[in-house]
Symmetry: C2
Subunit: 136 residues, 2 copies
Amino acid sequence: MNAQDLLKKYQLSVTDSRLSVLHIFMQSGGALSHSDIEGRLKGLHDRVTVYRTLQTFADKGIIHQIPTTDNAVLYALCKENCAGGHHHDNHVHFLCTECEITTCLDDVMVPTVKLPRGFRQNDVKMVVTGVCKLCK
Amino acid sequence: MNAQDLLKKYQLSVTDSRLSVLHIFMQSGGALSHSDIEGRLKGLHDRVTVYRTLQTFADKGIIHQIPTTDNAVLYALCKENCAGGHHHDNHVHFLCTECEITTCLDDVMVPTVKLPRGFRQNDVKMVVTGVCKLCK
DNA sequence: GTAACTGCAAAATATTTGCATCCTT
DNA sequence: AAGGATGCAAATATTTTGCAGTTAC
C-alpha cells in the first residue's frame, strides 16, 4: 500500500508533511526517533508538525512507539500496514495461566533492546505471563 | 545489604541524598521514575541532585534504566544488590545460533510493557536470538 | 465553503551545566 | 585539609498549546 492510500484508509487528509513522514518510515524500514525524522525532512516542515504527525499516526495505529533499553523514543510502522513485508512478527505474546491460551497482543510491540558490544541481534521474543482479559 | 554498605561497596560517599534515594528504591521494590522519586523525597533535596544521584547509581551499576512501552523512563535496583530477594529474574536472555549457548545478559533488563486494559501481568520473559560475542 | 492541517510564537516541562558552598572522608 | 557532593541559578533541550493563516476535500 502506498503512502497516499494508507492515509485515506485511516481517513486522514493527504498532506505534504504526512506523505513525507510516511515515505521516510517506508524507506527506512525500521524504527526512527523524532529527531531522525526531523533530520531527514531537512527543515522542510516545522518541528511541531512532526510531533503532531507522529501523534496522529500513533492514534490511528499507523505507527507504534517502541521503547528501547537506552530510552530513546522510537516509532515504527505497524505490521498490518507494512505492505513491503519487511516487518517481523514483533508484537508481544501473552500466556494466560487460567485458560492457558496464548494471545497476540498486536498493539504491544516488542521493545528494542540495546545489547552489549559484540552481540549481533537477529530476533527478539517476548512473552508475558499473567491473567488475560477474559479470565480475570 | 543496607544502603550505607551498598554505597561503600561502590566507593561512593555516604550522603543524605543517596541514602534517601536508595531507601526509596528498597522500599518500593520496583521501578520508579525520576518524578516518583522526586515526589517521595518531598522537596528534601534538589531536583538536580536527583538527576545526578540517578546518573551516578546507573554508572556504578547500582540501578538500571528500564524502558517501558509507554516511554516513561524508569529506574530499578540491579538484581545483584537486591538483598531482599524481591527481584525477579528480570534480565534478557540471549540465544546464540552458532554455539547454541544461552547467555544471561545481566546488564540488560527486560523492559516493562504496558498491557491493554484487563490484562494482569505476572512475569515477562525476553529472549534475543543472534550471534554472541565469542562466535561473531 | 468548511473542516482540518500547518507554521509560528510562546508556554510548559525536562534535562544539563557552572559555580560557590558545604559535607564526607 | 582535600575532594567530592549539593544547591542554586541559568542554559539547553524537549514537548505541548494557542491561534491565525493555509490547504485538502
